[in-house]
């Protein structure tokens, strides 16, 4: 209860975030309905099922291979941090973390910047071809990267970006644009025209309004698309698989796969490597989970 209320003020500052849901939350303290024991029981079972495989990966990293062989489903006894230390002190892991971070951060910044600019045009400018522009981007949803991967590889190869992070980043930005624009346009449309008019009267130009007001007012939407782009990039596998063949440029997903085939007999170490590689996305998501739900509310409601 406290959690839901505490998180409200942050989202209430939004101009664009759709209202009714928030209003209803802040009304607060309806009496708890019956059947609570059952509800909690179901919730616990679900959480256990959701977390068991993750727990297996994390705990497995704290075991030794002999422990795993003797009892595959047991808990670590004694706990053994050597696997994690090996991974953390080796250069391979950090190199891949760096690559993944660069790819994810640049992708996110690129998607947010380009997506926000294009969405602003679509949402707030009047011109012939606006609908066409929107449809072109929206049509991008029909082209998931999977479908275009082979020719995409050829394109990237022809412009000389093979084995470089740029060859991953640019396509990732391009393929994240449709979702981004579809989520951001309603946010930008919802900015009251009065604010814009007031800004113009005060001598603000269209572009000035964009930099000073729009970017800030659209923050909830921006955060949503930013997180989605970050996580998608952090986890992306197919594109790096095609583009990055040189081990020095591997991102974490490629690294995890390479590591697990290279050390296939050393299960415990593979598990340690795997569990370390999922931490950043998890942290990111748990920090911003509410924003993602809020942003999607705007997009889904239409």
């Amino acid at each position: 209860m406290t959690a839901t209320i505490a998180s409200n003020p942050a989202s209430r500052t939004t101009v664009a975030a759709p209202g009714p849901a928030r209003r209803r939350r802040s009304k607060g303290k309806a009496p708890l309905q019956g059947g609570n024991v059952l509800v909690y029981f179901v919730a616990l079972v679900v959480i256990a099922l959701m977390l068991a495989p993750v727990a297996y990966i994390i705990f497995g990293g704290f075991r030794t291979n002999s422990q795993i062989t003797v009892d595959p489903a047991g808990l670590p006894s004694p706990w053994n941090v050597q696997n994690y230390l090996d991974v953390l002190t080796g250069g391979v892991f950090w190199n891949q973390v760096l690559n993944s971070t660069i790819a994810a951060v640049v992708t996110t910044l690129g998607v947010v910047a380009l997506g926000l600019m294009a969405s602003y045009v679509i949402a707030r400018y009047e011109f012939r071809g606006r609908g066409v522009m929107y449809s072109v981007f929206a049509a991008g949803l029909m082209f998931p990267m999977t479908v275009a991967i082979t020719p995409l590889y050829i394109v990237v190869k022809n412009i000389g970006l093979m084995n470089s992070l740029g060859g991953v980043i640019l396509p990732q930005i391009a393929f994240a644009l449709p979702t981004t624009i579809i989520i951001l346009v309603p946010f930008l449309r919802a900015i009251p025209r009065e604010i814009e008019e007031a800004a113009f009267i005060d001598g603000c130009s269209r572009l000035g309004f964009f930099w000073r007001m729009v970017v800030r007012l659209a923050m909830p939407g921006v955060i949503t698309v930013g997180i989605l782009a970050f996580i998608a990039s952090w986890n992306s596998y197919l594109l790096p698989l095609f583009i990055l063949n040189n081990e020095a440029t591997f991102t974490l997903p490629l690294g995890v796969q390479a590591f697990s085939s290279q050390y296939s007999v050393d299960t415990a170490k593979v598990l340690a490597f795997t569990s370390l590689s999922m931490i950043p996305a998890l942290v990111f998501f748990s920090l911003f989970e509410r924003r993602i739900v809020g942003g999607l509310t705007g997009a889904v409601k239409g």
């Binding site: 991008g140 029909m142 394109v155």
Partner: protein, 343 residues
């Protein structure tokens, strides 16, 4: 995602109003967008539009539209991925694909996965979303935990699950520990089981996404409706069945759409867990694993492009049929709803 369907017609509607409008009896012009009549736009505005939308358009065309077009071109060649494509083979790639039993298998698996995903995830996700939409203690932490599998990368999920499901892995070990050793199976390689194993993993991984969407949809349902019903004496489950679920309809249909398209594109999980060779014998190959195995890994980029085109056409047909027959009424509803909101 619904926005995509609604907005294009909505723009048209706006244009209609502009041209036909003029009957001045309508209440105060609601939408600021149509306030000024469309006038010739100035050069500075034009420059701004180019400056703002240009970079996104360039990148989008270069890395999304162009490659897709290129795929259509290379699909007609037998091409190894380097040098100019000269060996024009016409429709031979496509004929080979459509006659290849391995591709038929892959298509069948994709179809099974699409249907079973809806059947497995839908009910579970609805129940979870209803549960999480109630005010219970620890609600936000439960939400985060349910979404954990969705956030973890396919590679991590695949690596973890394949270690767990090995014949000497944790699941069989657990069964043995609790005295059910007889149930131990070769979960991954047994062709009768593998696709069901895959379905369990898919459900585990993606149910969180469905829950996110449904929660977002549930938040759009006005509290007044459920309050009124509960004052009239409706029970919790009656309210859910008669009010919440019908109003959640549009969200459900969009989720189903995304889920079907996602199922047709499934690759990472299968490729990580089963690898390029095992997936076809274990009965879990998909169209994309087929494409990667027979295209990139075989060095036949022309053939791979042709598979991509087939995959795209199949996705497109499915999407169009779905939009035509399932999403259409949502589009209409959303359109009128939108007008109402504005007016």
């Amino acid at each position: 995602m619904q926005v995509r369907e609604t907005t294009a017609p909505e723009l048209d509607a706006t244009a209609d109003l502009e041209t036909t409008g003029g009957g001045g009896t309508t209440p105060p012009p609601p939408a600021p967008v149509r306030k000024q009549p469309r006038k010739r736009i100035s050069w500075t505005t034009r420059l701004e539009i180019i400056l703002l939308a240009g970079p996104a358009l360039v990148i989008f065309v270069a890395f999304v539209i162009f490659p897709v077009a290129v795929a259509g071109y290379y699909g007609f060649f037998s091409w190894q991925g380097y040098g100019p494509a000269v060996d024009f083979v016409g429709l031979r790639n496509y004929i080979t694909i459509l006659q290849d039993p391995a591709f038929h298998d892959a298509l069948l698996h994709n179809g099974m996965i699409a249907v079973l995903s809806l059947v497995f995830q839908g009910p579970v996700a609805i129940l979870l979303a209803l549960l999480l939409n109630r005010r219970i203690r620890g609600q936000s932490i439960i939400r985060v935990l349910i979404f954990v599998p969705y956030v973890i990368s396919e590679v991590v999920v695949g690596t973890g699950w394949s270690l767990m499901l090995q014949t000497n892995g944790a699941l069989n070990g657990l069964l043995e520990n609790i005295g059910l050793g007889g149930l131990a199976q070769d979960w991954l390689a047994n062709p009768d089981l593998a696709i069901w194993t895959l379905m369990v993993i898919i459900t585990w991984k993606y149910v969180g996404f469905a829950v996110i969407l449904f929660l977002a949809g549930l938040q759009g349902i006005p509290e007044e409706l459920t309050e009124a019903a509960s004052i009239d004496g409706a029970s919790f489950w009656q309210i859910q069945r008669s009010i919440t679920l019908p109003l959640l309809g549009p969200t459900l249909r969009i989720w189903a759409f995304l889920s079907i398209i996602g199922s047709l594109q499934l690759f990472d999980l299968v490729y990580i867990i089963w690898g390029q060779y095992v997936s076809s014998t274990a009965g879990t190959s998909t169209m994309v694993t087929y494409m990667v195995t027979n295209g990139r890994n075989a060095g036949s980029y022309g053939y791979g492009s042709a598979v991509a085109v087939v995959l795209f056409v199949i996705s497109l047909v499915v999407a169009l049929v779905y939009q035509r027959f399932v999403l259409r009424r949502d589009t209409e509803g959303a359109l009128t709803g939108k007008g109402g909101k504005r007016g």
